[in-house]
């Protein structure tokens, strides 16, 4: 459903306001949806159409239960497309919708200008629809269960991409037979290890695994979508921070009336609530942006932000701070954003800490409040999209066409039972023995799966 005439008017006003403040976005198409549709969209990662798979339903079922119990409410969804498409929740109050409209426009600005999104396909809606079509066609041809089983395996490996090299295209080596993978000379070497370990495991599989044509199609779909979502996952904090910064400013400077102030404050406080259990990306992001804006202002004309993030001195507008934050939103992702701008002083003001699990008391306990330790842990959790760094070391391990992966262990063990299940899924694609080198409780081990049994051996 399109916006109501009343909201259409508000949207015009906010778009004008946002543009006047320097936000630069693709045209935005707004759609109103009900809570059920919103949960569905969220389960589909924002898109109205995805390929058929039960895992979306699992997510949806969880969202539905959680919504019914009142644990969450999704206010909006914005797609990184041109024109941008945004979904608003029906039945929200006017204040809520104003806030959300402003928030959405800032997201759209971020998608358009942030360097990590520059190369993304802005026509992904069509691409996803095509993916869905392709997979439905394969289902019709080969049977739902066969396709589903292969999809399960591929999805199980979806995080094994290399976010630092997102635009590589698989080059299938010309081979005589489809069943024997053509290995690069390095892979045939006596050590059976490559000089250049491959971090884009999905790419490696596309190039070297014995895939049939339909399997290749599916794996390509999964990899394509994984890379499409990678920039989103890399910019959660900075993107939400940016959107929150702008909705706060636009609300406070122009859109609030005396009558709606309390409602807005209530909304804002629940959106920015931050607790010991999880870091709120909205809160962290917006505070950093405010910090950057204020600091760069101090270099020029001194100004203070009041409690709404509003610059109290109107003459201080359009100064260094504002310029700086626009530059930051263009050039940074979460990792560099936090690395560059989370200062010791900011850290202490916001009382961050790092907690670890204590198995005796079955709870998390504060382990450190030291700036360097906590910041390092925070950066570590954002590295490689929060996934363990796993690379292909050999495709001819033990001269048996075995696939050897290694986990670059940096202090955190893998969840071993899940790693075993994942290996079994990898076997389904590689069709020969698969192994993973990792570290558990400070000793190196090798997990193996040979198609029927799991083995584990110590390496030290």
């Amino acid at each position: 459903m399109p916006l109501t005439p009343e909201l259409e008017q508000v949207r015009d006003e906010i778009e004008r306001l946002a543009a006047a403040n320097g936000l630069d976005f693709f045209p935005v198409i707004f759609e109103m949806v009900d809570a059920g549709q919103m949960n569905e969209l969220a389960a589909f990662d924002g898109f109205p159409v995805r390929f058929p798979h039960w895992s979306f339903a699992m997510k949806y079922d969880h969202l539905r239960q959680s919504y019914r119990s009142g644990f969450h409410k999704i206010y909006e969804m914005v797609l990184n497309t041109n024109p941008a498409i945004a979904f608003l929740l029906e039945g929200n109050s006017l204040t809520e919708q104003k806030l959300v409209l402003a928030h959405v426009l800032a997201h759209a600005d971020f998608f358009k200008n942030n360097v990590y999104f520059k190369q993304t396909n802005r026509n992904m809606l069509n691409r996803f629809t095509n993916h869905a079509q392709q997979i439905r066609r394969l289902q019709a041809q080969f049977g739902i269960e066969k396709i589903e089983k292969f999809l399960d395996s591929c999805l199980s490996l979806q995080n094994l991409i290399d976010p630092l090299h997102p635009f590589r295209v698989p080059v299938k080596q010309p081979t005589g037979s489809n069943s024997v993978p053509d290995l690069t000379p390095a892979l045939h070497s006596a050590e059976c290890r490559t000089d250049k370990p491959e971090a884009d495991i999905l790419l490696f599989l596309l190039e070297h695994a014995p895939l049939t044509h339909w399997q290749e199609i599916i794996l390509n779909v999964i990899r394509d979508e994984a890379y499409y979502f990678a920039p989103q996952a890399q910019t959660k904090i900075i993107n939400e921070g940016w959107a929150t910064y702008w909705h706060s400013r636009l609300m406070a400077e122009a859109l609030l009336t005396d009558a709606t102030l309390i409602e807005y404050a209530d909304l804002q406080s629940s959106a920015l609530a931050s607790g010991p259990e999880t870091l709120n990306p909205y809160k962290l992001g917006v505070e950093l942006f405010r910090e950057i804006a204020a600091q760069d202002d101090e270099n020029g004309i001194a100004s203070e932000n009041d409690c709404f993030g509003r610059v109290t001195d109107p003459d201080a507008k359009n100064n260094g701070g504002l310029k700086k934050i626009f530059e930051v939103r263009q050039l940074h992702n979460d990792l560099s954003f936090i690395d560059n701008f989370l200062t010791k002083e900011f850290f202490q003001r916001h009382q961050f800490f790092y907690s670890e699990y204590n198995s005796v008391d079955d709870r998390f306990e504060v382990n450190s409040r030291s700036f360097s330790v906590v910041k390092k842990k925070l950066l570590q959790s954002l590295t490689n999209l929060g996934s363990p760094k796993i690379r292909v070391e050999s495709a001819n391990y033990q001269h048996q066409r075995g696939l050897l992966l290694s986990h670059a262990h940096d202090g955190i063990d893998l969840k071993i039972n899940e790693a075993r299940e994942t290996l079994a899924n990898l076997f389904h694609i590689w069709q020969a023995k698969v192994c993973l080198e990792t570290v558990v409780d400070e000793s190196r081990i090798l997990l193996e799966f040979d198609g029927s049994e799991h083995h584990e051996q110590a390496l030290d």
């Binding site: 339903a57 995080n159 010991p276 800490f353 699990y357 709870r363 969840k415």
Partner: protein, 363 residues
């Protein structure tokens, strides 16, 4: 509006059903499930359905949080984070209606559908809208069909005028009509008898409770109207409510015939066998007081109770005290009776087999 996700959802439910079926033994003895079943739906925890990934162990990963920690100063370590009672893994819960659950159980246990007793097939009338007629009350008027009729009539009579398209006359009006259909009425009553003498401990009662849950679930899926009665007995029998049934513990001896007599009395007063499908489930540790009473029971069963019942089930729960002879007497007399099911339940794991023995008869 129907959602696109419905297809995925249907497939997801199928996968969960498959997982439950595979793990049915576990679910049948899952007492937490029963405790939570206040309403018509049951939430079933499903562990193994997920897409596995190479991921960090959440317990070894640590977290970054924000906020002051209690009354400690910054920088000190080893302080406790404000309450974070964790469940490390997000537990997936699927919601099932009891009827759906009964279906899954029936598929896996290969339970036959129940054939209600022939003479009890009561005819009840059921009205259902079917078809149209040309007269009726205004409230049942069907405008779409009325206009279609009018249009057809006007075109046929060649008086159709596009400017003033349809004029309705009395003959055009169509009304919904209904048919009455005879429908077999299916009432059932479940009468649970349980020995509450001293030798039945909490463990034994837990088994009875679990079995009764599944029996209820199954029979409720088979009949429109199911009533449940509870009788406890030691030396004397009493009719009680559900809570009392599972919580009473007496210390007296056991005279089983007292329960059978009370059961008979309830049937003759309230549940005419011509109108009701009657199920009796009796759970005891098999320790009866004296050979004479056991004989009494057999006679009562054979002559008076069984002719009135669809099914008589006796489950003998193993206990530390019970001598367990009662089932032998029943075996001698009713081993091959097609309306008697006998089962020995040694422990929780035996519930699976026992349910199959009870409900596998299709009576």
């Amino acid at each position: 509006m129907s959602l696109r996700i419905e297809t995925d959802l249907a497939r997801f439910r199928e996968i969960i059903r498959g997982a439950i079926r595979q793990d049915l033994k576990h679910f049948l003895t899952h007492t937490e499930l029963i405790g939570r079943s206040g309403s018509d739906t049951v939430r079933v925890p499903v562990h193994q359905i997920r897409i596995p990934r190479f991921c960090f162990d959440p317990l070894k990963q640590g977290r970054v949080g924000q906020g002051p920690a209690g009354n400690t100063t910054n920088g000190s370590s080893g302080q406790k984070a404000p309450a974070s009672n964790l469940s490390a893994e997000h537990e997936l819960e699927a919601e099932f209606s009891r009827e759906e659950l009964a279906q899954i159980m029936a598929e896996e246990l290969e339970l036959p559908d129940i054939q209600p007793r022939g003479k009890n097939l009561l005819q009840a009338e059921h009205r259902r809208y079917a078809g149209l007629r040309s007269s009726g009350p205004a409230s049942l008027r069907v405008m779409k069909r009325t206009f279609q009729t009018a249009l057809r009539r006007q075109i046929m009579a060649q008086i159709y005028d596009p400017e003033n398209p349809v004029t309705l006359i009395q003959e055009d009006f169509r009304y919904r009509s209904w048919k009455t259909q005879p429908e077999p009425e299916s009432n059932a009553v479940i009468i649970y008898l349980m020995d509450v003498s001293g030798s039945m401990g909490p463990e034994q009662k837990e088994i009875v409770r679990t079995e009764a849950f599944w029996i209820d679930t199954w029979l409720q899926s088979q009949y429109h109207n199911v009533q449940i009665c509870y009788i406890t007995h030691d030396a004397i029998a009493r009719e009680v409510d559900e809570t009392t049934f599972y919580s009473t513990r007496e210390s007296g001896g056991t005279i089983i015939s007292s329960a059978y007599r009370l059961c008979l009395e309830i049937i003759s007063l309230r549940f005419d066998p011509d109108n009701w499908n009657i199920y009796v489930f009796h759970f005891s540790d098999g320790d009866n007081w004296g050979e004479i009473d056991t004989q009494d029971c057999v006679t009562l069963l054979a002559l008076e109770l069984l002719p009135k019942l669809n099914l008589f089930c006796y489950g003998q729960v193993e206990s530390h005290y019970g001598s367990g002879q009662f089932i032998d007497a029943l075996k001698q007399n009713f081993q091959h009776h097609d309306r008697v099911a006998l089962s020995e339940i040694a422990n929780k794991e035996a519930i699976y087999r026992s349910i199959r023995q009870f409900l596998g008869k299709g009576k």
